[in-house]
Symmetry: C2
Subunit: 297 residues, 2 copies
């Protein structure tokens, strides 16, 4: 990671942290325990990969950062709500997340349930509250896209497919179908909504960007599976080896580590190709792509 | 209930049922089990009191029914998501809802969790997808209001206060504070968003309508508490006597049944008064008020 990009990552991670700090309900406002738990779940952790994608896609498309940051925050809130719910005992039953006790371990199950529910509401509140586009009709379209990405045909649906697949042998296309929903839909939303904050794009440009987003969404998951199989819990900040323990099909269980790493490279290459001929300055988005594929924890 | 109003209730209950039928994901679309469970939770049950309020408030304000029905559906989806999550074992641990096994009893806990999550997304998707106002900026404001009513300063926050109050003696103002959030916020949204679908209202008219909505939100809860204490499980369609069993503070535990009934009447009177001098044809909204206060199950 070169120094310029490192600085960009750091400054945008700080920006999103500060924005979330300011837009989450204050801890001293009733109900205090819920608000404290919401802040605990959201703040001070995570690589903020989805916000970085929104910022980079916005930058590529000349978006005002005061707009891109709203989208970045909303997408991150949806992501964190999904983590809080996924960690619950009735789902993955996990105790460690982003290096800290999971929300229901630190607080309790009903509070964690309400934290997730409230974070989802807050995401849509921010998307409706602040101006994201000259044309408010475009902003309505953006809200619709985020709702679709989060819902039963997107992220939550992917989670349902994941539940059904525990203990089953999936084919590679079935696994891909699951991840296109479970992680892909929201990563795609992060890219597309970031870009929508900027100039108008042609149909062809939107298609290319969409294909790029699909590729990195999958690449992200492949790398995640490799890290879950290889990294330690300490490095990962969440319980390592959970997939194998829970008998979940992963890219590693189907392909093995070596081939999974090759698949991640191939997807990275596809992502690169999708951004060629976009007629935009894509270097930041390519840097974030490398950041996603080459991350070690 | 006179025949005219009975017909209006019936026809609007059918309309909202049919709209929800058409806008919930189809059961044969993947993930099928999740979509089946979403439809199970939403369809074929409930008095649809919040949608009726949206329709009546829309009618009062000359709103096109093709708009009011979107708001009615979105509010009902938020309401049903909250019921599905509230019934989970880590919350109220209930087995019966609207005369049927609760969602997690019929399916399983993780599915019920995702059903609630997905219904919330779908509510915001509908609010953004269909035109609700001439001015799309007004529609963004409506989405923001629904998000606030649902979130940690509204319904979900009320639920958190409820959790904290189990086993405690609350004063009447504390109980009122809880219910203004837990049930009041969404009932208020049902009324206000229904009205927003129509003509522009003056500040004074909005204030009056808002006060009306607060009164019936509380009246609704007082009646609910009385019914929980007096009705049978069969008549209620959900487990009766849960409040006392769970040692929850209610209007009945604080005031007794007789005084609680009087409070409901007083709130009904306040609601009536708020609608006087509104300069609008309020008879339908008054009929719905009576329907809420006089319902027997």
């Amino acid at each position: 990671m070169n120094a310029d990009f490192q600085g960009w990552v750091k400054s945008h991670q700080l920006q999103i942290e500060s924005y979330l700090q300011n837009h989450l309900p204050a801890e001293n406002h009733a109900p205090k325990r819920l608000h404290e738990a919401m802040r605990y779940a959201v703040l001070g952790g995570g690589k903020r990969i989805r916000p970085l994608l929104s910022f980079a896609a916005g930058e590529l498309n000349g978006a005002d950062e005061t707009r891109a940051i709203v989208v970045a925050a909303a997408v991150e809130l949806i992501h964190v709500y999904s983590l809080v719910h996924d960690d619950l005992p009735c789902m993955d039953d996990d105790t460690l997340r982003r290096g800290k006790p999971t929300c229901h371990m630190k607080y309790d199950e009903p509070t964690a349930l309400l934290v997730g529910d409230s974070l989802q509401s807050l995401a849509f509140q921010l998307m409706a509250e602040f101006s994201l586009a000259e044309n408010p009709k475009k902003q309505l379209e953006m809200i619709k896209q985020l709702a679709q990405a989060a819902g039963s045909r997107g992220m939550a649906g992917g989670q349902a497919i994941d539940l059904e697949s525990v203990g089953k042998m999936l084919t590679l296309p079935e696994l891909e179908f699951m991840h296109i929903h479970k992680t892909g839909a929201l990563i795609r939303a992060a890219v597309m909504l970031g870009a929508y904050c900027g100039d108008k794009l042609s149909e062809e440009q939107l298609d290319r960007l969409d294909h790029f987003a699909k590729c990195i969404g999958l690449a992200f998951q492949v790398v995640d599976d490799v890290l879950d199989a290889e990294a330690t819990t300490a490095a990962l900040g969440k319980t390592a080896g959970k997939d194998a323990e829970q008998n979940k099909p992963t890219y590693v269980s189907i392909l093995g580590v070596k081939q999974a790493r090759e698949l991640a490279k191939a997807l990275q290459h596809d992502a690169y190709q999708a951004l060629e001929h976009l007629g935009k300055s894509t270097h930041r988005l390519l840097q974030v792509t490398d950041f996603i594929v080459q991350r070690e924890f």
